[in-house]
């Protein structure tokens, strides 16, 4: 975020179009590079959550599965805050 972006925010103006362009490109390229469409990613996100919730209870509100890209490497990043483990509660 640049000084101008902060000023724009304070004044309730749109962010600079170059900043928007950068953000949009980063997102679209992460998808292009991994050859994953937003729909496929969404489906994968659901299935991952299904599997994970078999074992642990997770905070659905906070959880996110997304694509991140740096230096032409794309990573699938899952950030799933665990409320508690189902296995340990069953054992107890």
């Amino acid at each position: 975020m640049t000084l101008r972006d902060i000023l724009n925010k304070l004044l309730g103006r749109q962010q600079a179009s170059a900043t928007t362009a950068r953000e949009r490109l980063q997102l679209v390229l992460a998808h292009d590079r991994s050859d994953l469409s937003p729909e496929l990613l969404d489906q994968m996100r659901k299935e991952i959550l299904e599997v994970v919730t078999k074992y642990v209870e997770i905070d659905m509100e906070e959880g996110a599965v997304s694509l991140e890209t740096e230096d032409r490497m794309t990573a699938l990043v899952a950030n799933l805050p665990i409320k508690r483990s189902k296995l340990t509660t069953e054992k107890a």
Binding site: M1, T2, L3, I6, A18, A21, L25, L29, D32
Partner: protein, 271 residues
């Protein structure tokens, strides 16, 4: 035979971002430095390189006749009158696209490598057969883009394909840079594009009306030794290709005065 011939593909993905203009200007600039250079028009569908070099009236044979062996390579090459170190191998008839194969392209380039020190290939837009044929015959690539989302996205696609074909090195040229727009953050900055595409920057070319004037005349800017902004950029790129260490033009420095200073301050990244 030239043992250390460099074969460089000039490509972009998106059409109309400046491939042919860059090829023509680099060709002239390299020839001026005394290197034997050939520019090969691989855009058989929409050939234009002859026109930009002002050689359209001197074409007798093309790559097509060379491949069909109905003429010798030397007969098809069009030598530039003022810069005899530069030659053009014109693209053949668009119908060539129906039968041209990677093998054919490789054969032509191999022949050119016998004679020249630089083989610059002007690539067609897109990522279809014309592009693939051209890639099959090259070692290095220059990817050219403008600082616009669609051009950058297509460049990224092309870089991915070049990587899988083992093309190395791949360098970036950023064309039609407008310092004013970058300063007011209405255009992607140079660093934005190099970060996103993760390629080393070979150079940038400023937006310049003189490019159009020179196209009208069929005299690339580097030919006349013009001092226009784009002319300086093109010759810097040629010199960097030759291994000279020429600092990049800083778009921010193209602008002077208090207003520019304020704009620069506003561009400071906070987080």
């Amino acid at each position: 035979m030239a043992p250390n011939t460099r074969t460089i593909l000039i490509c972009s993905g998106k059409g109309g971002v400046g491939k042919t203009t860059l090829t023509a200007n680099l060709g002239i600039a390299l020839a001026k430095q005394g290197v034997r250079t050939v520019v090969l028009d691989a855009d058989f569908g929409l050939r234009n390189l002859d026109l930009l070099l002002g050689l359209e009236n001197r074409i007798v044979y093309t790559a097509q006749e060379v491949l069909e062996e109905s003429c010798r390579l030397e007969q098809a090459l069009v030598k530039h009158k003022q810069e005899p170190n530069l030659a053009l191998l014109p693209a053949g008839n668009p119908r060539m696209l129906e039968w041209l194969k990677p093998d054919d392209m490789q054969r032509i380039v191999e022949m050119l490598r016998e004679i020249f020190e630089y083989v610059l290939i002007d690539c067609p837009a897109g990522v279809e057969d014309g592009f693939k044929n051209a890639v099959s015959a090259t070692k290095e690539a220059i990817v050219i883009t403008t600082p616009e989302v669609s051009a950058v996205r297509d460049a990224d696609r092309v870089i991915g394909l070049l990587n899988t074909q083992g093309i190395k090195p791949i360098q970036l040229v950023l064309n039609r840079v407008r310092p004013k727009m970058i300063a007011s953050q209405e255009m992607l900055a140079v660093d934005d594009v190099t970060d996103i595409l993760a390629l080393p920057l070979l150079g940038l070319v400023l937006e310049d009306e003189q490019v159009i004037v020179s196209t009208n005349r069929g005299e690339p800017l580097t030919l006349s030794g013009s001092n226009s902004p784009a002319a300086r950029c093109y010759s810097n790129i040629a010199r960097r290709l030759q291994g000279e260490n020429i600092p990049l033009i800083d778009p921010a420095k193209e602008e002077q005065g208090l207003r520019a200073k304020v704009r620069r301050l506003m561009q400071t990244k906070i987080f």
